[in-house]
Structure formats: structure tokens, C-alpha cells
């Protein structure tokens, strides 16, 4: 009997092309997602070296970071953004890569469209020049972000040189209390283990709460694994996973379906597999979460208060906390629900899927966005947008005073025209509250879609459970 293996070890082992004496492996990459920001220099490198692209058929490209989310009829006005998007188009044409351009109804955020098209499947290795590639781990795929040099490496060889990561398992047991979502679970996890808590690990999420999540919820959890420092998150594929994939355009064809599912069922970690680190959370202890600082680990239950740096003993942490509160314009001891906001951003690869929009719409229905607050909804893809419109969610949002926009990364990182002005405070469903992330001087509070919608209605951070 062979040694019990973790899901990570199984996927890793099945992709090793060659192992060097020092343990460095050439790892085969099954799927490569490409976007306009981290790929131009990689294609250029390929061209300069006179190398061919190994598997255009295993690659899918989309423009998402730079695209406008307002009316697209007049194109991209920023000349640098335009050049970057046009460069992607010409590179895809030259190398024969499938591209969803800005006017394709399937266009959207790269981590939304991969799963949506059925490209993301259990047991695969998936990479993209984007740290939130961890999202795809929700399907039991080993998926991680890479830099541009590695993008070039994959374009040329369909492999990467890697050493295996360590294994961590985070188990969330129990039942989620009312109003607590996947976003709250992952924020609570990051609060517990810290932004570097997962560095060097692949994190497997387990337990009844994770098993009970929809694919959308699982993607939210895996998406933010990188905010805990782990390059990849993993969730064992099950019927929820298979039902989601079945029938999608790039899913295994009917003739292979049973064989594929049979293989996917072998991927879960073996009983008795060992982990280098184990963390456990009790679902009952998790309340809706919001961040108060400038790192995703600076998170608290909405029922809490802005912490006091003077109560922190460690000098470096004290200084960092003081600096963060100064940047955020918050006084220690402030009740979180007393913090007023200027803008609301609902969208991103973390929370821009249909279920997220449904959750926000459920809160927005029959209510109005508070006076003086600007609230935007940016669907994760053109297909998410179409689905939401079919369900009438757009009407609910528009009636409530939300701005209903075109798909893209938008104000998650503010590379296009959507950004915060200095000092503006935003309730955001995205993944990073770093200084300047949503615009220079902008102040970001991360939370779930329902919580962000609630903040839009009241004009301040709000416990969504009190609106219900």
C-alpha cells in the first residue's frame, strides 16, 4: 500500500515531466490564462528569441484590467491602456491564441471566464500572470499566479520549473450563521493566520462549511488564499463541482465525461494523508467581517471597533497599525458601524459572479442608495451580466440607484477610469485594501457583497443582519 497523499501531492505527481537531483521539477501546465497587463513582455521575449508557442490550444486570452466599464461604443480613451489591449490582440493573432475581446459577450475577468467556459477542471495545473489565479483551486485544480518571465516560460515550453510547496489544511466545521458568507469565512481565515500565514504552502480547504458552499462561494475562498500568502488554494471536487462544469463549452465532451468524472473522484486527499500545518475554525464563531486597515489581515467582525495601536506590544506592529489608521483616517475605538462611506464597489474576481450579484440585489431590493453615496455594480463577465439581466437584477439595482456597468476588473485595482479620489472611503467586495489600491489616497474596506450593498443603503458600514 502506497503512502496516503494529499490532493496537492496527487496533482503535483501527475504533472512532473522530469525531476532533477535537487528536487526541482519540470511541471507540466495544462491550461494557461493570459491577460493584457502581464503578457506583452512575455510574447516579446518569445519573438526576440525566435521561439514558437508550444500549445496555443491550451491557452485562453482576455482583456480585463484596462477595459472601460462604461459604454464601450467609443473604445478605450487612455492611449496606454489602448496600446496594451491592442498589443494583446496582435499577439494572440500572431501566435494563434483564442481571445475574448472587449466586444465579445464572453469577455470578463480572467478568473471568472475560465470556470464559466468550463476551461477550469479538477486535477489540472492552471497558471496565469495574475496572483488571483488561486481562484481556480475551487475546482480541485492546482492553480497559481506567476510573473511575466514564467508566462514566457509557459508560452515556450508549457511547463514551469518548480519545487513542491508544503501542505496546509484549513478546516471550517459547523454551520454558517445567517448573513455570513464565503467572503466572511476567508476574511476570518486571513485574520487568523495573517497575510504571510500561508507563505510557502498550498492550502486545502476542508470541512462541512466548505463542502456546503456553492462553486461561486468556493471560488471566493480560493481567490483570497493569496491574501494569506499561499499561492494556491484547493477544494476537493465533488458533485457540486461536476454539476457546475457539465455542459459548459470547454467541458470534457460527452463521450469522455464519465471517464473524466471517474478520474476527478480519485483526486481528494487520501484518508491519513499528512499536512505540515493544520488550522481549524468553527463556523459559529464567524460574524460578517470588514477590514479596517491597509492589509487584508486587518479585519474584524462588523460588531467590533477600530483597534488601539497603544494596546499592541510589538513595536513594528504598533507602528504599522498607527500608520494604517492614519492612512485610513480612523480613530482607535471607533465603532465600525459608525464609519461613513463615499463609494461602493461590487464586483471583482473575488465577488463578481452571479451569486454575488443575487446577494447584493436581495439587500438592494425595495431600498435606495443613501444620499451622497455612489455605488457601482461591475459584473465579472458579459455572461454574468446577461444572466443578471435575465433575472431582473439590473432593474433592482438601477431602481435602487446603483450604477450598472460593463464587465472588467474595474475599481478592484483602478487601472481603468474607475477609481477613488484621495480621501474617499469605499465599501468594496474586492480582495486588497492596500494603500492606493483603488486610487491614490483611497480608503478601502473589504466585505461581502451583501455587506457592501447594505453599506450603500445606509451610507455607512452596516451589519447586514440588522437590515434583514
Amino acid at each position: 500500500m502506497s503512502k496516503p497523499r494529499t490532493m496537492f501531492e496527487k496533482i503535483w505527481d501527475s504533472h512532473v515531466v522530469r525531476k532533477n537531483d535537487d528536487g526541482t521539477c519540470i511541471l507540466y501546465i495544462d491550461r494557461h490564462l493570459v491577460h493584457e497587463v502581464t503578457s506583452p513582455q512575455a510574447f516579446e521575449g518569445l519573438r526576440l528569441a525566435g521561439r514558437r508557442m508550444r500549445r496555443p490550444d491550451a491557452t485562453l486570452a482576455v482583456a480585463d484590467h484596462n477595459v472601460p466599464t462604461a459604454d464601450r461604443a467609443t473604445g478605450i480613451h487612455d492611449s496606454e491602456s489602448l496600446l496594451q489591449v491592442e498589443t494583446l490582440t496582435s499577439n494572440c493573432k500572431e501566435f494563434g491564441v483564442t481571445l475574448f475581446d472587449m466586444h465579445d459577450k464572453r469577455q470578463g475577468i480572467v478568473h471568472v471566464i475560465g470556470p464559466e467556459q468550463g476551461m477550469t477542471q479538477p486535477g489540472m495545473t492552471i497558471v496565469c500572470g495574475d496572483s488571483h489565479t488561486s481562484t481556480h483551486g475551487a475546482f480541485g485544480a492546482l492553480a497559481f499566479g506567476i510573473g511575466t518571465s514564467e508566462v514566457e516560460h509557459v508560452l515556450a515550453t508549457q511547463t514551469l520549473m518548480q519545487k513542491p510547496a508544503r501542505n496546509m489544511r484549513i478546516t471550517v466545521e459547523g454551520a454558517l450563521p445567517l448573513g455570513v458568507t464565503a467572503k466572511d469565512v476567508i476574511l476570518a481565515i486571513i485574520g487568523k493566520i495573517g497575510t504571510a500565514g500561508g507563505t510557502g504552502y498550498v492550502v486545502e480547504f476542508a470541512g462541512s462549511v466548505i463542502r456546503g458552499l456553492s462553486m461561486e462561494g468556493r471560488m471566493t475562498v480560493c481567490n483570497m488564499t493569496i491574501e494569506a500568502g499561499a499561492r494556491a488554494g484547493l477544494i476537493a471536487p465533488d458533485d457540486t463541482t461536476f454539476n457546475y462544469i457539465k455542459g459548459r463549452p470547454m467541458a470534457p465532451p460527452e463521450k469522455d465525461w464519465d471517464k473524466a468524472v471517474a478520474y476527478w473522484r480519485t483526486l481528494a486527499s487520501d484518508p491519513g494523508a499528512t499536512y505540515d500545518k493544520e488550522v481549524t475554525l468553527n463556523a459559529a464563531d464567524i460574524a460578517p467581517q470588514v477590514t479596517w486597515g491597509t492589509s487584508p489581515e486587518t479585519v474584524a467582525p462588523i460588531t467590533g471597533y477600530v483597534p488601539d495601536p497603544d494596546k499592541v506590544a510589538e513595536p513594528a506592529r504598533k507602528t504599522a497599525m498607527k500608520h494604517a489608521l492614519e492612512y485610513m483616517g480612523l480613530a482607535p475605538g471607533t465603532k465600525l458601524t459608525d464609519i461613513r462611506i463615499d463609494k461602493v464597489f461590487i464586483g471583482s474576481c473575488t465577488n463578481g459572479r452571479i451569486e454575488d450579484l443575487r446577494a447584493a440585489a436581495a439587500v438592494a431590493k425595495g431600498r435606495k442608495v443613501a444620499a451622497g453615496v455612489y455605488a457601482m455594480i461591475v459584473p465579472g463577465s458579459g455572461l454574468v451580466k446577461a444572466q443578471a439581466e435575465q433575472e431582473g437584477l439590473d432593474k433592482i439595482f438601477k431602481t435602487a440607484g446603483f450604477d450598472w456597468r460593463e464587465p472588467g476588473c474595474s475599481m478592484c485595482l483602478a487601472m481603468n477610469a474607475d477609481k477613488l479620489e484621495p480621501g474617499e472611503r469605499c465599501a468594496a467586495t474586492s480582495n486588497r485594501n492596500f494603500e492606493g489600491r483603488q486610487g491614490r489616497g483611497g480608503r478601502t474596506h473589504l466585505m461581502s457583497p451583501a455587506m457592501a450593498a447594505a453599506a450603500a443603503i445606509t451610507g455607512k458600514l452596516t451589519d447586514v443582519r440588522e437590515l434583514a
Binding site: V17, N20, D22, T24, I26, Y28, D30, V37, T38, P40, Q41, E44, A49, R51, D57, A58, D78, E80, L83, Q84, T87, G129, D130, S131, G145, I146, G147, T148, S149, E150, E152, H153, A156, T157, Q158, T159, M161, T195, A196, T199, G200, G229, P252, D256, K259, A260, Y263, A316, R317, A320, L413, M415, P422, R432, F434, E435, G436, R437, R440, G441
Partner: protein, 201 residues
């Protein structure tokens, strides 16, 4: 890629934990389609005011540190996005080595692809080197011997993956190395196509 062997130079102190890649280079500078020219935007928001005047209190604006080739930094340096623009900006400014107690994985990896040496050192040693940097004392980083030498001659050893060291010391291109094993890749694809045909068109 340029080889990295021994580097002696000015070390700039940046004693802040969790320096994220948005801080190293903000998104408005990611629109370039080139690898070069990003040094002028390195640490943009903490180095310049909104109207792009230098902040005199930021370390790289101080006369003693303008020529820094080494950066001594806090824990979890380079956390956040996968943008390789972060190491490109450091390199373009002239930083060839970072010394810190820990790094985010993707940033750490990206450094090696660009000839930057990210040295990992225990925090108590980094604290000593931070004080040296603050006092304007140069440091010497000797990659072949895996040592950081203080100005007083004291040497601190560091660990590094053997393969990564080999590539850096010799300035080797990963892609070229991998393509030497192309027959192995082709064999892998053939075997995978046999067992998981749905992965291929």
C-alpha cells in the same frame, strides 16, 4: 540575464513589514509593454508627492542612498500581486539585492528571473544590517560563498536553493534549460493524451 556574483554597495534601510507590490509600483505604471524604464516610478506614492515632488524624508531621496544597490527590508516583502513590474522597477532603479526576513512567494520567484538576489536572513541579523544601512555603512553580498559581509568584516551566512543559485551565478536562462528536455515534455504529452484525452483537442 546578467550574472550575480559579488555585490558591494550602499544599502538603503526600509524597516517596514508587508511592503506590497502596489507600494513598490502602483498600477498606473503597469500599462507599459516594456520591461525597462520603471525605476523612476519605484515606490512612487511614498517617494513622491501627488504632484511628483520628491518627499525628502523617503530613504531613496536622501543623498546618501540615491546610489543604493541593496535594500534592507521588513518581513513579507513583495506581498500582493504577481506583477513582475516590481522587480523590474527595483532593477531599473539600480537595486540588485534585497535582504529581508521573509518574502511573498511570487515576488521572491520573480526576483531570480531578473538577476535580483533576494536574501533571506533571520530577523535579528536583518536588524543588525538595518542599523548598518541606517548608519550609511556599505554591505557586501557574496552569493558564491552565501555570505553578507558587514563593513567591520563580520559575515552572516544565508541559505539559498542550489539550483536558483546556480542560475543566478551563471546568468542562465530558464527557458533554454527547460528546452534541453523537450523530448521529455513531448513524451509527457503523449502519455497524458492517452489517459486524459479530454485535455486535448
Amino acid at each position: 540575464m546578467k550574472a550575480f556574483t559579488v555585490l558591494k554597495g550602499v544599502a538603503a534601510p526600509l524597516p517596514v513589514p508587508n511592503i506590497d507590490t502596489d507600494k513598490i509600483i502602483p498600477k498606473q505604471y503597469l500599462k507599459t509593454i516594456q520591461r525597462t524604464g520603471l525605476g523612476q516610478y519605484l515606490f512612487d506614492e511614498i517617494r513622491f508627492t501627488p504632484d511628483r515632488k520628491e518627499r525628502p524624508d523617503f530613504v531613496l531621496n536622501k543623498p546618501a542612498y540615491r546610489q543604493a544597490s541593496i535594500l534592507v527590508a521588513g518581513e513579507n516583502f513583495g506581498c500582493g500581486s504577481s506583477r513582475e513590474h516590481a522587480p523590474w522597477a527595483l532593477l531599473d532603479f539600480g537595486i540588485h539585492c534585497v535582504i529581508a526576513p521573509s518574502y511573498a512567494d511570487i515576488f521572491y520567484n520573480n526576483c531570480f528571473k531578473n538577476g535580483i538576489l533576494p536574501v533571506i536572513m533571520p530577523k535579528d541579523k536583518v536588524d543588525i544590517l538595518m542599523k548598518d544601512a541606517e548608519a550609511g555603512k556599505p554591505l557586501t553580498v557574496d552569493l558564491p560563498r552565501q555570505k553578507v559581509l558587514r563593513d567591520n568584516g563580520e559575515a552572516f551566512s544565508f541559505e539559498i536553493d542550489g539550483f536558483r543559485k546556480h542560475c543566478l551565478v551563471n546568468g542562465l536562462d530558464d527557458i533554454g534549460l527547460t528546452l534541453e528536455h523537450e523530448p521529455d515534455i513531448t513524451a509527457f504529452e503523449k502519455q497524458q493524451k492517452g489517459s486524459q484525452s479530454w485535455l486535448y483537442k
